[in-house]
């Protein structure tokens, strides 16, 4: 059953550009896909380790800026006598560097802030995103500040020297985003359904007990932060080379909020949750725009969100799962890591 569903999903996703000829909708799907990747990465921290990072957009933006800057090249006069110049790098190399740099900042934030947990962690992450935004805004020599980095080169494919193809068109960009999304999903899935993921979930569920059996809190939280930040950085890189212009607004708090909404409504701590939430809240604004005025749009958006959170506090995916199990019987061998979210009733009994 599950495999059939999965194949259907994949078939739909893979054939979209063939039947969806409206390029505007394809564009929406691409940006939605990019944000869904970011939401999946946030879910690793928020859903599986239970750490609320409200500065997640920082990693997205760092990935975007790093990748954009390296592919454009830059020339910095650091001191009177010292110039730091970087020649334009191939896009794929810049993209990988963006992932690494974002991951590195994930490690830094992990190191600093997992000493201060709970509310303090939230504050540290928000501040971090704000600081990075201010840097992007004010370090004009490097980032062009509010004038934005423009003419960012798109992705190129091919064998160097033999044949190259630069992808300006929507269709190949769609497949690129889909590919990165699937890869990110697989990475997260591998981690979460392993001993590593069990350790993360154990820390979320009962930290004293987890440490008493030898699970190193810092180590697993930092690991989650690094992987999460790196994947967010990949999403940022995709964004930069697809939209091809970025400015410091990429670091706005509202984007973090969007990611959090995607994760919470879809079902935090489930693998499918951020995908479902990401698709809904990526596409919903566009659908609303087509028939409602701007004020009405946001009211409907907000009301819809509140309804989901109110009636399905664990999110859409866990709700569907328990509905399915109630009618048809248990899904074939529930994935252990997700199980903890699958039964809201018992959880409230604590």
């Amino acid at each position: 059953m599950k495999t059939a569903l999965l194949c259907l999903w994949l078939a739909v996703l893979l054939t979209v550009p063939l039947w969806l000829t409206d390029l505007y909708f394809l564009h929406i799907l691409i940006t939605t896909g990019i944000f869904t990747i970011a939401a999946m990465s946030l879910n690793l921290l928020l859903g599986f380790t239970g750490q609320l990072s409200l500065g997640h957009v920082a990693f997205f933006g760092i990935g975007a800026y790093t990748s954009a800057l390296l592919s454009l090249g830059f020339d910095l006069q650091l001191t009177e006598s010292y110039r730091f110049a970087v020649a334009p790098k191939p896009v794929w190399l810049a993209f990988l560097a963006g992932i690494v740099v974002a991951g590195f900042f994930g490690w830094v934030i992990g190191r600093i802030s997992f000493k201060v947990r709970g509310a303090y962690f939230v504050i540290v992450t928000i501040s971090f995103a704000e600081v990075v935004r201010l840097v992007a805004l004010n370090w004009v020599d490097l980032t062009e500040g509010p004038m934005a980095l423009s003419a960012i080169p798109p992705f190129t494919f091919g064998i160097p020297g033999l044949w190259e193809e630069t992808i300006y068109k929507k269709q190949p960009n769609y497949y690129l985003v889909l590919g990165v999304a699937i890869l990110s999903y697989l990475v997260i899935r591998r981690l979460v359904l392993s001993r590593v993921g069990r350790a993360m979930i154990a820390l979320r569920e009962n930290e004293p007990l987890a440490t008493s059996v030898g699970i190193d809190v810092t180590r697993y939280l930092i690991l989650a932060a690094v992987v999460s930040a790196a994947i967010a950085g990949a999403a940022g890189g995709l964004y930069a080379h697809y939209v091809r212009i970025i400015d410091p607004d990429i670091f706005l708090f509202i984007y973090t909020v969007t990611m959090v909404i995607m994760v919470i409504t879809g079902g935090k701590g489930t693998l499918a949750g951020p995908i479902v939430g990401g698709l809904i809240f990526g596409i919903l604004p566009v659908v609303l725009r087509s028939f409602a005025g701007p004020e009405i749009q946001w009211i409907i958006y907000g009301a819809f969100m509140i309804l989901i959170v109110f009636f399905l506090p664990d999110g859409i995916v866990p709700a569907i799962r328990s509905w399915w199990e109630g009618r048809v019987g248990p899904l074939a061998e529930p994935e252990p890591a997700e199980l903890s979210n699958a039964r809201p009733a018992e959880r409230q009994a604590e």
């Binding site: 350790a199 008493s212 030898g214 959880r347």
Partner: protein
């Protein structure tokens, strides 16, 4: 008379050494100048009235608290200053007085989490999905089944930890601790809240744990259990050790009787406050 046959003659080699340990909470002295040792293969009970400092002692031994003064060593390694998971890595594993399991995970997953220390694959190997990761997972699952059977809750494997009846939750806690392969197991009131039948069966479990060469330090109010399973009893009152010796001697000790004033050391189990 003892429920636990003392198989080999005890080799008196101290494994856990507690030297001049004190724990202060502000002005409150929870533990004052505590000195005692636990030897290889022993079952030692730490008893005392409510608030005597027993749980605090467990917390300092296992790294959940730092002692204000003093030093703790386990098989020669200084534990003081180590974090809880590092203490666990040395084979010292504790359970908690207040029932503590992974409520929203199944019993089987609880054990798998407990088996964390038994796995060696790194995050990279996991990400790459190397064959040894799969082999290790298979081995861990087999070990989990074995532990569930050892403790006697195998038929509960797929139920949620938080949904188990109380007595079985306490067994699950011990199973999770055993999964971490302790060489020294610290049990904080494992039978509190169990009925007499469950307590008796827990005493038999303790005998089997002991047969696996696991040294046990036990905090317990149930005197039938304490007197039945212990090689030695250490009595704590107001953070100080007031008596130490074999169960029979402790039962006769006037100072112990005074400390328990009316709670009855010989009785069916001390009344809880």
């Amino acid at each position: 008379m003892s429920a636990i046959p003392n198989t080999a003659a005890p080799v008196l080699e101290p494994v856990l050494e507690i030297e001049h340990v004190a724990v202060h909470f502000g002005g409150l002295v929870a533990v004052a100048d505590m000195n005692f040792a636990v030897h290889e293969g022993e079952v030692v009970s730490l008893i005392g009235p409510n608030g005597a400092g027993k749980t605090t002692a467990f917390n300092v031994i296992t790294g959940f608290l730092r002692p204000t003064k003093g030093r703790i060593r386990y098989r020669g390694t200084v534990l003081t200053g180590l974090r809880p998971h590092e203490v666990a890595d040395l084979g010292v594993v504790r359970t908690f007085q207040k029932t503590s399991v992974f409520d929203t995970n199944t019993v089987f997953e609880n054990i798998l989490i407990g088996l964390h220390r038994r796995g060696r694959c790194t995050a990279w190997e996991t990400l790459l999905g190397l064959p040894r990761v799969r082999a290790e997972e298979k081995r861990l699952r087999e070990e989990a089944v074995e532990i569930l059977e050892f403790v006697g809750i195998a038929r509960r494997a797929s139920e949620l930890g938080g949904a188990l009846p109380y007595g079985e939750q306490r067994l699950l806690e011990v199973a999770v601790a055993l999964a971490a392969r302790p060489s020294l197991l610290l049990l904080d009131e494992p039978v509190s809240g169990m009925n007499p039948a469950e307590t008796s069966s827990f005493m038999r479990l303790l005998a089997r744990i002991r047969a696996r060469n696991i040294t046990v330090l036990l905090v317990e109010h149930d005197m039938r259990m304490v007197m039945g399973v212990s090689d030695r009893v250490v009595v704590l009152n107001h953070g100080k050790i007031i008596a130490e010796g074999p169960p029979a001697a402790i039962q006769q000790n006037p100072e112990v009787i005074r400390a328990y004033l009316g709670h009855g050391v010989r009785g069916e189990g001390a009344k809880r406050a």
